[in-house]
Amino acid sequence: MEQIGQRVRQFIIDNFVFGDASHLADEDSFLDNGLIDSMGILTLVVFVEKTYDIAVQDEEIVPSNWDSVNRIANFIGSKLANKETAVKVLANKCL
């Protein structure tokens, strides 16, 4: 989980933070800090989908999932866990 957080944090810094990034805490809101706009959020979704091979549903693109490093890390974590469960279920069925 920590690894996911670090990777997300680095992506945010590389793409959306131009000044000093040391003050960006993992629970800081991107919206409140003006880091991400409408194109930014879409860029972020594409990055997460590609990096973690998960599909994000439209209704999942809400600030409660995406508005801080921690929230994104948690969201990715739960998506991956669901995926794992789904694979197991599928595997059990096939076997």
Partner: protein, 662 residues
């Protein structure tokens, strides 16, 4: 159309003609047809002339018969024929056929109140020798520019700041408060300018210098306190009749000139209607001019062609590439004399060059209709946001916002929760007096993240909105949301960006005068009485305009979705296929060493943005605005502040493609 400049030594010392000459020479492009000067004790008054009306008799500065009044005037008084007849009835005699002399006689008759009788676009200075009074005035809507300052013991004024900076006492320093205004509202708010201690005379104001004192006075106010409510069919019919007559007359009197008048075509409704009305008035061939873009998302030439074919005008078009914008951008900033956060002035600069090269000095253009007749998306946006805020849980209300911006890819896929955040949709946000403009100002303010630590510390603790609030009418908070949104567009964006950086400054760069029928003050005053639903009916913009004049333009133009005029921003400066800047000055002015030396922006942050731009990854509004804003500020520092004594020219190797004839 011309350039004016001058000064009064407040200590009474005689004016130095060499200084006056140096000042007016900086404005040669505003008036290449002749230069004149008048000296009277402490006063120096100068003029560069672009001759349009009474070519033989209109020399300036012009004196009144007994030599007690002198005027230097930039602009046009369109009702000078009627005003002259009135003044003749009152016993005044005229030596010339110019509108300039009419202002002088009107001043003789009415004193400083003469401005109430003028219908036009002006910036003038009258020297009233017998009262030792200097009287400056600027038109109601701010079509023509006028700046002033006190340096040492001298009061200075001029059509452009560069004339003031040519005075030996002047000192060019960056005004950080104005810089923040640019990086919030898109422009400095008068009286602030980007130059410390240099002031802009706000629209609808006069300024009197008398007995060593300077007195500023507003003579007209855009007032939305009496918006009509009766939109019954009978009332609508009366409004339609009145509007029909007004716009026709506003266009007719704007064709008064002793040189041919052309028209700009954007491909939109407003300029098409003006061109159609002009065609009716002149009853001969009309020349029209337009810009086409390589990028199909920005190009409107298909619609321009529709209008040209329908009206049968003689049309010429300039095709503008990203590289063309980059090539002329330093020269454009030399003319705007302020940073800009969009490149849209650059194509207008290329367009005016085309007009000048074709031998035209005057063009009609369609600005003002969106502001006063309910055309802007920001009005709709505010309406939708208010509608949504009233029912925040609504599933389909946010769809209206997505539909409003079909050309913004980022909008289409947003969830309601994100749209709410981006558009400030809260139960109580509607009560904020600036409700309509909060999303725009908020997103633009993000560009301030690039300010250096020094600049932030300097600005810290000061209210970024102070300059705005000082220019808001007392009863503003009591107006409706729609009226407030209109005021914010018409009193701020219109004069301080559209009519200046995108208007007068880039047109006059090539000695071209724009004339704006929709900005006739009679139409503006009419529009403030017009019921809102006759401007925007539900979400249909410019209802009355379409009803009155829609049949003059092709159906394709009437029915097309509204498209704002835009030009490529970051893509103008960096070629994503090579990752390189299109011109060397871009690399030079944005280099970490240079940015650090100039001290306004954070060099590391700028470098990261530049890297992103090289990779072609700048997509957001704020990042585009930041890059254009930073680059234009760096150009401004280079041209005006670092090299004040000898402004350098990049001599940019620009070569816009040849005009296309059809």
């Amino acid at each position: 159309m011309c350039g004016i400049a001058g000064f009064v030594n407040l200590d009474g010392l005689p004016a130095d003609p060499a200084v006056l000459e140096k000042m007016i020479r900086t404005l040669h492009y505003r008036g290449p047809d002749g230069t004149g000067a008048h000296l009277d004790g402490p006063l120096g008054l100068a003029h560069n002339r672009l001759s349009i009306i009474d070519i033989g008799g209109g020399h300036q500065p012009m004196e009144c018969d007994d030599g007690s009044l002198w005027i230097s005037f930039n602009g046009e008084i369109f009702n000078f024929v009627e005003l002259r007849a009135d003044l003749e009835k009152k016993g005044h005699r005229f030596r010339t056929h110019s509108d300039t002399e009419v202002i002088l006689k009107a001043y003789q008759q009415y004193g400083v109140e003469c401005v109430h009788y003028l219908n036009g676009q002006w910036a003038f200075a009258i020297w009233d020798a017998s009262n030792h009074r200097l009287f400056l005035s600027r038109d109601r809507l701010g079509v023509r520019p006028l700046f002033h300052a006190v340096f040492g013991n001298t009061f200075l004024f001029g059509s452009e700041v560069k004339a003031l900076l040519a005075h030996p006492e002047a000192d060019a320093k960056l005004n950080l408060e104005a810089l923040r205004q640019v990086f919030t509202f898109w422009f400095p708010i008068p009286p602030e300018t980007i130059f410390k201690n240099v002031h802009e005379l706000p629209p609808a104001h006069s300024l009197i210098v008398e007995n060593g004192k300077i007195h500023l006075q507003r003579y007209w106010q855009l007032d939305y306190s009496r918006v009509g409510t009766d939109a019954s069919p009978a009332a609508e019919k009366r409004y339609l009749e009145e509007f029909n007559e007004l716009l026709l007359d506003a266009t007719r009197i704007r064709l008064r000139a002793d040189v041919p008048v052309g028209a700009y075509l954007s491909g939109g409704l407003d300029s098409s209607i003006i061109a159609a009305l002009a065609k009716q008035c002149v009853q001969s061939s009309l020349c029209t001019f337009s810009i086409a873009f390589d990028d199909p998302a920005l190009d409107e030439s298909v619609y321009q062609r529709e209008v040209v074919n329908a009206l049968g005008t003689q049309h010429q078009m300039i095709r503008c590439s990203s590289s063309d914008i980059s090539a002329v951008f330093p020269d454009v900033i030399m003319h705007t004399e302020r940073p800009v956060i969009r490149t849209a002035p650059a194509p207008m600069y290329l367009l005016s060059k085309l007009v000048r090269d074709r031998g035209f000095k005057v063009v009609l253009t369609g600005e003002g209709s969106d502001e006063f007749l309910g055309g802007y998306d920001i009005y709709k946006e505010a309406k939708i946001r208010a509608f949504w805020a009233a029912q925040i849980g609504s599933e389909w209300r946010p769809n209206l916002l997505r539909r409003l911006y079909p050309y913004l890819a980022g909008m289409q896929k947003q969830s309601p929760a994100y749209l709410r955040a981006f558009f400030h949709v809260e139960h109580d946000s509607v009560a904020n007096p600036y409700f309509s403009h909060l999303p725009r100002w908020d997103v633009t303010s993000k560009t301030q993240a690039f300010f250096s630590q020094d600049v932030r510390s300097e600005l810290n603790g000061r209210d970024a909105y102070a300059g705005l609030k000082a220019n808001i009418p007392d009863d503003f908070a009591g107006w409706g949301t729609f009226a407030r949104a209109q005021y914010l567009e018409a009193a701020f964006l219109l004069p301080n960006y559209l009519l200046s950086s995108q208007g007068d400054r880039v047109a006059m760069a090539h000695s071209v005068e724009g004339r704006y029928p929709f900005l006739d003050y009679r139409i503006v005053e009419f529009s403030t009485r017009l019921p809102i639903c006759l401007k925007m009916k539900v979400l249909r913009e410019k209802y009355l305009l379409k009803k009155a004049f829609g049949d003059l333009v092709p159906a394709a133009v009437l029915q097309r979705p509204k498209q704002p005029y835009r030009a490529p921003d970051v893509a103008s400066f960096f070629d994503r296929s090579t990752g390189r800047a299109r011109h060397d000055y871009v690399d030079e002015l944005l280099s970490p060493d240079r940015v650090r030396a100039d001290g306004v922006f954070d060099a590391n942050a700028v470098q990261r943005l530049v890297n992103k731009a090289r990779a072609g990854n700048v997509t957001s509004f704020a990042e585009n605005a930041a890059l254009v804003g930073i680059l234009s500020t760096q150009i401004l520092i280079e041209k005006f502040i670092s090299h004040q004594q000898e402004p350098i020219s990049y001599g940019a190797n620009w070569a816009a493609s040849s005009p296309v004839h059809y």
